[in-house]
Symmetry: C2
DNA sequence: CCCATGTGAGACATGACTGTCTCACCATGG
DNA sequence: CCATGGTGAGACAGTCATGTCTCACATGGG
């Protein structure tokens, strides 16, 4: 909500449309362009003026998801302090993007044959590096590969997002549930 | 109306079609009825004779997934011995159905609307009861709710299935990765 | 042998979504 | 004041999956 002048340049509007689309498609991944437009409070014509088509919209959402992931990764300072704490910071910082990630996570299977955005590989590498650092530092167990831990994080984020979405879980528990399960597991830990 | 040979022949064909469809839709959730038919080695007309439409096919797949889950739950003997071991047995037994489950898990059409299959609630309850038993017995930590642990199990199964599907993980690691992460988490456990 | 049943192939109509277009409207800036 | 440009509404054709239909064929039983 800033100066009116920005609205003419589509930057603010575009972001709003993108986030509305993300929120809608997270709930209903098969939503129509018309539904996306209505959810954003604009007409289908305007939606189509900003995004050439459904494919372009999904690509833009993918770019948004990647950007938010990168931002969360930066904010979490993955190289600082214990890896365990870095994981907690990461889960906390990525919470707001979890819904969008859940949508992209299932949509990505669709682009099987196509070229897929290299941004995901970068993100995978950064998260994997965090888990590897934890393993090398003796914090994390070594029988679970960094690649699997990364994938598991995605899966848990998606599960958490859907759970909150469906009302079966409280948003305030999101970070704790995911981080604690990922780090500590279900077994009760003996106090040292 | 029923002749023994007739019934048996249809049953076998139907099961084969169902499993082919499950395998295909796991990889490509938007596959056409024509593609489903070709994958099963039958024509679209015959596919339509067995399943009134795409919706009926998905519902049949849902019933199959529920049946396989129930079978895995029975085979895992959730009430016997330590809950930890029961979880391991369950993960191992449900592995073969994980791909189908991952497909159904993302088919949110099944979960919106009022007429969602009650079989899922039964399965949720049985798995939740297992986690609750582990908590009451002092095996599992109590700050992670049974409902969340159940949802997390679904998410990890889906992640594992997709990882194996995309070739980023070995099928032989499936059970170990999921069960160990779910039970023990990423943190290295001090030897007692 | 003949007939019945299941099947495959394909035509056909239907509906839904998409992408493109036009046109009237209205707020802003000159 | 008018000119501009973005917008909403709607028309339009094209595309694709679906559901239904017909018909020829083959396999198997009476």
């Amino acid at each position: 909500m800033s100066h009116m002048g920005y609205r003419r340049l589509m930057a603010v509007d575009r972001d709003h449309v993108l986030r509305s689309a993300a929120a809608l498609l997270t709930r209903k991944s098969t939503a129509t362009m018309d539904e996306v437009a209505k959810a954003a409070g604009i007409s289908r014509a305007t939606l189509h003026r900003q995004f050439a088509g459904r494919d372009a919209l999904v690509r833009a959402l993918e770019a948004l998801g990647i950007a938010e992931c990168e931002a969360a990764l930066d904010a979490a300072r993955l190289d600082d302090g214990p890896a365990e704490d870095a994981v907690r910071r990461l889960v906390h910082g990525i919470e707001s993007a979890a819904g969008l990630l859940a949508f992209l996570y299932t949509e990505n299977q669709l682009f099987e044959g196509e070229e897929q955005n290299a941004g995901w590989a970068t993100i995978d590498d950064r998260i994997s590096a965090l888990f590897r650092r934890g393993q090398l530092g003796g914090e994390f167990r070594i029988d679970l590969t960094p690649a699997w831990l990364t994938e598991a994080l995605y899966g848990l984020l998606a599960s958490g997002a859907w759970m909150v979405q469906s009302g079966k879980g409280a948003p305030k528990d999101f970070t704790h549930m995911i981080a604690e399960l990922l780090l500590g597991g279900a077994l009760r830990r003996e106090e040292p």
